[in-house]
Amino acid sequence: MTRSETITGFRSSTAAASAVDVVKSYGSGSTAVRALDHVSVDLNRGEFTAIMGPSGSGKSTLMHCLAGLDTVTSGSVAIGDVELRGLSDKKMTALRRDRIGFVFQSFNLVPTLTALENITLPIAIAGRRPDREWLATVIDTLGLRDRLGHRPSELSGGQQQRVAVGRALASRPEIIFGDEPTGNLDSRSSGEVMGILRQSVDQLGQTVVIVTHDPRAASWADRVLFLTDGRIVDELRSPTADSVLDRMKRLETRS
């Protein structure tokens, strides 16, 4: 697969999520901001993708649009084979619940629920019972077996984020999105969380997309997309922290 193919590519059946010619503008007239400027991208199944770019480049916007949290101005977005455009709020919500997992930067958990209850929250909301075996696997991967009865306030930041990852994994979504999931963590906790996400891709076949600032975090991914001014301008496969940093520097000097 060449680079140009991936960027401009057609919708392939292997894509867990895809964007075609997506434009997202905020405001109107002279104050209008174009956060995404004709972006097309396929996020492949079973792959770990990191999105990087300078602040304000549109990373979060891209992720929100892909995850059905925000609507696009033009273009189309799909999760698996479901086109998001025109979905009712109800269907969109159900789609997020059943087919998408989320890990946010902060405020990830319901403070009044225990770790286990937080992990099974989307399943419980859907009125389903969790798959016990799968849940056990997830919990073991997280290494949180002895913390399941604790409330978020009784957990460290890293543990909380691991619970959030657990929640994203528990319902076996098609794709997991994380907007700076390690943004508030120290480097050790950050490494733990990225390790778990990596593991979920390698061992559980999960698809993961994260936005990050941190080249070290990005180096856990299979593929790094670089965004500048609402456009995907570069891509890196099998990144290392150094190669990511290097590419970032080049982008900055160019702009």
Binding site: L69, A94, F102, Q105, P111, P122, I125
Partner: protein, 840 residues
């Protein structure tokens, strides 16, 4: 400081909804306080005006010293007129009357007097003019006041029937409609010639009072002194000023009751409102922690922060009470209009807004608001500057709650002690005081302990109610106890309301039950003949009842106003057998009132130290003395009163115009068909218009209806408490929703449907309000029962707990909870999922 003031004012403006809700809660409380004063001031002013005009010309009034005495002898009128300095003498004759129009409809008012009297040809006041027609010239003519004529469609020339208690029904023609100076709503005045008025309303030998106007140059005091000198014992002369002052004082004391009730509403509203105000400020402070910390970090002192919050509550207090003042005037106006539409006899007139009303309202409203804002202000001042740097904030410390709970437990113990003292106390007064103290301390304890109680009630309740809703139910339950202080303060509005309502409900039901009990145990008659208005059963109607076929015996009961051994005691005289009509629980002796026997109540026996066998001398002024013997002592019985004696005592000692019966008990002959008897009784009394025939159940129902005023008050209180509680719940939920925006956004992001978000809020609200209601009901029912118990010697011998009503209130609370959550719920469900990620 001025910068802090700017921050405070900006902050108020930035939270319009919260501001509005808080203002409304201050407004509601103060409106009731202001309204109660405006309403009573207005009424008092109007009544004062009426007395000032209607008794304007009176310089001296002669009347009996005691109102149970017959009045002023007619032969004294000329003597009074001959006193030097007396210019005009006007006898006053009046008594209750019911007019019946030609088509048979009764001319009735709900509460306003319906009074018959004398058309004075010479009066101390200006003689009223006529709208149409002329003064009564013959005994069969009557004049009617313009207000009643218009209201009831009576015209000059119309035929009417005149019903009074102690005469047959009289036919009369309306000879004129006069302009009355007494323009109270619904007042009915029917005036006759002197001869007819004497026949209808007096014993023929006395008039009610004699008014005198002084000749020019004679002061009212001089005139009154001169008249007083010639009066026999038992009569007195008062100056016109004294007469008017006494009337004003009577009205004031009657109105003070109304004033207290309305003020009570106001205090309850304010008290309940206090919790809303407190909650609002507590939440404002919690939400602004970071901002306040920042202010502290850049150099604002503790005192400045505290003052800025206090300043905010002060502004709300002043604006809220000013609005409340306006609302109070509206409330008084509305209340007046409402009551006027019931013909309760209220005078009309402009609203009176006194300086005192303005001051009390503004000061009370502002003080309460400031007080409620104090604790949050102090909490705000304690925020450390470093909090500005921290990411998350901890909720109020558990140690604060621990201290609060400890104090609550102490107060609760004191409450239990006071209540127990009330229960074991023998004296009714002391028992009531202790129970009252117990109630007040219980309210305080409940307030202090409710954060802890909230957990105890809401957790199990939430598990049951929330079960069908799964995770939504669980979230609702955990949210409801997330901030126990806030939940407690929110629920307490309902708690307070329901304490009052449930308490009154118990007392009301017990009164009804006890009355029913007394009637069941005392009245044995098949039918009870009474009237349901101011008149007694007309004397000829009593005779008519006796002749109805199927009647075995009749027992007529009469009021007896006599002195016994020199001291006045009102009792009951009985014509007819006691056995089979009235059952008495005899403690000593026999239930025998034949011959010269009488029976007395235990209470009377104890207070006058009388016993079976004692001889009592019963007397009335100018009517001699009857000697009776105590044949028995019965257990106190509200229906029987202090004593029962034979009808002959009554006939000898009572003036002719008061020879009336307030009830006639009818026993059927064995084997008589009761329905036939009833229609016979109805036919016999039909011509007297005001008489009703009831069986025992109906009679109980009519008696119970008298308790309905209390019930109406109860629903008024409930309504008010609910309105304020709704405001409080909306306020709390709306603020919680704002606080939890990110959390709700996150829930939406991970797949919670809007409907589910709404349901979570509804359920949370339902749990909070049901908790408040449960706490209120428990306290209200408990203390209502205890208060009923303290009244057990005053005739409240049956405790009835209205469980059905309590359940209804609980259901209502649940509905209220959901209703209050509608708007916050919809708002919450509209939270965009992005809220969780963006807006860091």
């Amino acid at each position: 400081m001025s910068a802090m003031r700017t921050v405070a004012l900006r902050n108020l403006r930035a939270h319009k909804v919260r501001l509005a809700l808080t203002l409304i809660s201050v407004l509601l409380g103060t409106a009731f306080v202001a309204g109660s004063f405006v309403f009573t001031d207005t009424l008092k002013h109007s009544f004062d005006n009426i007395f000032a005009t209607s008794d304007k010309g009176v310089d001296a009034r002669v009347q009996a010293r005691h109102d149970y005495d017959p009045g002023v002898p007619t032969n004294l009128i000329a003597t009074i007129g001959a006193v030097p300095g007396a210019a005009v003498v006007e006898p006053q004759i009046n008594g209750p009357v019911v007019l019946v129009k030609a088509d048979g409809t009764k001319v009735e008012s709900n509460g306003a007097p319906s009074v018959g009297g004398l058309w004075a040809t010479r009066s101390v006041n200006p003689i009223p003019s006529f709208v149409t027609g002329h003064a009564p010239r013959t005994d069969h003519q009557v004049v009617v006041n313009d207000g009643a004529a218009t209201k009831h469609g009576m015209h000059t020339g119309d035929q009417v029937k005149v019903v009074v208690s102690n005469s047959s029904v009289v036919d009369a023609t309306i000879s004129g409609i006069y302009r009355s100076s007494v323009n109270t709503g619904g007042y009915i005045g029917a005036l006759f010639t002197r001869g007819e008025a004497m026949r209808l309303f007096t014993d023929g030998r006395h008039v009610t009072a004699v008014d005198v106007a002084a000749a020019p140059g004679v002061s009212e005091q001089t005139l009154t002194d001169r008249i007083a000198k010639i009066l026999p014992g038992g009569l007195q002369a008062k100056t016109g000023t004294q007469v008017r002052d006494a009337e004003t004082a009577d009205i004031s004391s009657a109105l003070s009751f109304v004033n207290y009730i309305l003020l009570g509403f106001g205090i309850v509203a304010l008290l309940v409102g206090t919790f809303i105000i407190y909650n609002t400020f507590a939440m404002i402070v919690a939400q602004r922690q970071r901002e306040l910390a920042l202010l502290r970090a850049i150099g604002a002192g503790r005192k400045q922060v505290r003052r800025s919050v206090v300043f905010e509550s002060g502004v709300i207090g002043i604006v809220g009470s000013a609005l409340g003042l306006a609302g109070g005037i509206g409330l008084a106006y509305g209340l007046h209009a409402l009551l006027d539409s019931f013909d309760l006899g209220l005078p009309s007139g402009g609203m009176v807004l006194s300086t005192r009303t303005i001051l009390i309202t503004l000061i009370l409203g502002t003080a309460v608001t400031l007080l409620a804002g104090l604790a949050p202000a102090r909490r705000a001042a304690r925020i450390a500057p470093v909090a500005a740097m921290r990411e998350e904030f901890s909720s109020p410390s558990a140690s604060g709650l621990r201290r609060r709970t400890a104090i609550g437990v102490v107060v609760a113990a004191a409450s239990v002690a006071a209540t127990v003292a009330g229960v074991i106390s023998d004296k009714a007064g002391a028992a009531a005081s202790f129970t009252g103290l117990g109630l007040v301390t219980a309210c305080v304890a409940a307030m202090l302990l409710s954060p802890v109680l909230a957990r105890w009630v809401i957790v199990p309740l939430g598990r049951i109610v929330g079960r069908p809703f799964g995770t939504v139910g669980q979230l609702a339950r955990t949210n409801a106890i997330r901030n126990p202080r806030r939940t407690a303060a929110t629920a307490f509005a309902l708690t307070l309301g329901l304490i009052l309502v449930a308490g009154i409900a118990v007392v009301g039901a017990s009164i009804k039950g006890s009355l029913g009990n007394i009637i069941d145990n005392t009245v044995q008659a098949d039918y009870i003949v009474t009237t349901n208005n101011q008149l007694y059963v007309p004397t000829p109607a009593v005779a008519a009842v006796r002749t109805v076929p199927g009647v075995a015996t009749t027992t007529a009961l009469h009021d007896l106003n006599v002195s016994i051994n020199g001291k006045h005691d009102t009792g009951t005289a009985v014509d007819g057998p006691l056995a089979g009509s009235i059952a008495l629980d005899m403690q000593h002796g026999a239930a025998d009132i034949t011959g010269h026997n009488l029976v007395i109540s235990k209470k009377l026996a104890d207070s006058r130290h009388w016993a079976v066998g004692d001889t009592l001398r019963m007397s009335a002024p100018g009517r001699g003395t009857v000697t009776e013997h105590v044949a028995g002592v019965y257990a106190d019985n509200q229906l029987a009163g202090p004593y029962l004696t034979g009808g002959h005592v009554w006939r000898q000692l009572t003036p002719r115009n008061e020879l009336t019966s307030f009830v006639v008990l009818v026993q059927a002959k064995p084997g008589t068909d009761l329905a036939t008897l009833r229609s016979g009784l109805e036919k016999a009394t039909n011509d007297y218009y005001v008489v009703t025939v009831q069986d025992r159940e109906q009679f109980k129902g009519q008696t119970a209806a008298q308790v309905n005023g209390l019930i109406a008050l109860l629903y008024g209180l409930l309504g008010l408490a609910i309105v304020i509680a709704i405001l409080g719940i909306i306020n709390t939920l709306a603020l919680s929703v704002v606080e939890r925006r990110r959390e709700i956004g996150m829930l939406r992001a991970v797949g919670m449907q809007r409907k589910q978000v709404r349901r979570t809020i509804y359920l949370e609200s339902l749990l909070i309000s049901v908790f408040g209601a449960v706490l209120g009901l428990v306290l209200g029912l408990t203390f209502g029962s205890l208060f009923t118990r303290t009244l057990r010697n005053a005739g409240l011998n049956q405790l009835s707990v209205p469980w059905g009503q309590a359940l209804l209130f609980l259901g209502l609370a649940a509905v209220v909870g959901v209703l209050a959550a509608l708007w916050p719920g919809v708002r919450a469900s509209r939270t965009p999922p992005l809220e969780a990620i963006s807006a860091a």
